[in-house]
């Protein structure tokens, strides 16, 4: 019985070490929901390891109505930038990168364009299909030279809803920095001037009203150290569900 207990604990310790090494432990692994979260994240990271692609749709599948969650920030500097047509807006890209950058809309639009028709799935239960156009995050990551030590891409918006993804989703071909939706400039309610699109996770990972992308090797010192603002208000960090 004691031997079984010791070997069980040793087995768990080895498993935890391996899981951490291969990036299978979510930042909100602690606490009462930790076991379920870790099992979900680890198993889905193993399953999606071949860079599986979120389902894409036909143009005729695009939803006529796209439900909105959350209003644009009411305060400056967002309101000031909105009034100015985002002419002075810049997307800061920094952290563990060789060449930090500050990109305007025009500069983003000069980069190779990426487009996808995917489903936006809200954790509340509703969903819609839309065409998202922008730049692959990986394009910008190559531009700034993300350092090998980076383990997470952190998305900071103009409101409080910051979030982060691991490198598997950051490098993923469908993870976009979006400036247009269904062929038009991204409207304010959908995250103008730029939002993220992470179609293999629930909608809240696709952060709206973007201001800054930061690459880091640890999330411990941002917010409450849970990886994003989502766990701070009760939602799981990993939203592949």
């Amino acid at each position: 019985m004691i031997a079984a207990g010791i070997s069980g604990a040793a087995g768990l310790a080895v498993a935890a070490k391996l899981a951490d090494r291969y990036g299978l432990i979510p930042p909100d692994w602690g606490g009462v929901w930790g076991p379920g979260e870790t099992l979900t994240y680890a198993s889905q990271r193993i399953l999606t390891a071949h860079h599986s692609m979120a389902r894409e749709f036909k143009r005729s599948d695009i939803s006529k109505v796209a439900q909105v969650s959350g209003d644009p920030p009411r305060r400056d500097p967002y309101q000031m930038l909105l009034r100015g047509g985002f002419a002075s807006w810049r997307l800061k890209v920094d952290g563990l990168v060789a060449r930090p950058a500050s990109l305007s809309i025009a500069e983003l639009k000069r980069l190779p364009q990426a487009s996808q028709i995917t489903e936006h799935t809200c954790e509340e239960g509703w969903s819609y299909v839309a065409e998202w156009t922008g730049v692959a995050l990986s394009t910008v990551m190559n531009l700034v030279g993300v350092l090998p030590a980076a383990k997470y891409a952190v998305f900071f918006p103009f409101d409080e809803g910051w979030d982060s993804v691991d490198m598997a989703d950051a490098w993923h071909r469908q993870t976009l920095i979006v400036y247009a939706m269904n062929g038009e400039d991204l409207p304010p309610e959908h995250g103008a001037p730029v939002r993220m699109k992470v179609p293999r996770q629930l909608g809240y990972k696709s952060v709206k009203f973007m201001s800054r992308i930061m690459f880091t090797d640890t999330l411990k010192h941002i917010g409450k150290g849970l990886g994003s603002s989502s766990p701070e208000v009760g939602y799981s960090w990993y939203a592949g569900i």
């Binding site: 929901w33 399953l47 599986s52 489903e119 799935t121």
Partner: protein, 206 residues
Amino acid sequence: MADSVYSPAISIRQSDSSTVPRHSAVVRVTHWINTISFIGLVVSGIGILLAHPRFYWGETGGVGGPSLFDLPLPFMLGGPSGWGRYLHLQSAWLSILNGMVYAASGFVSRHFGHGMATSYSVTQRSTYLSVIFVFFPLMIWTGLAMSPAITSVFPFLVDVLGGHQTARTLHFFCAIVLVMFAFVHIAMVWRAGFLKHIGAMIKGEL
């Protein structure tokens, strides 16, 4: 006619039963773990449902578009349902891991074949087997079909059903079937002698 009472999980042959274990240790332990995870799934499922008590058919659906049916509840009753998802997935893992132990031991011990055939009526047996082999797997399938990460690996899971919202609606219908089963199950155990049969599911003996 006491021994013809529909008594789920209990042998209806009551003679000379005091020394024969009614339920193996595996059946007893997995039954109660399943009870805990089922309560967790129902409570958290209601929590998630309250955020958006509308149902759709096909791929997409939301406010401003047509619905299949609306429950007479406001949106976001109970506030953000993040806790619901945490609890739902944790309970689902418990339920699936526990269910795998139950199913594996059931096949090895021939519980589903010989064991059930000798101690349950045809109605009982088909009800149990359909819950275990139809509705429980359907619940897992429709649940996984709502995961954007899982469907990136196995798109057919959702495509076969006809879309994300169809999966969500079927998940809801399946949940209702399972909750109804649980109520009938408890009612029948109550009729057959609640404490005695609860004791049998704890200690193994009637």
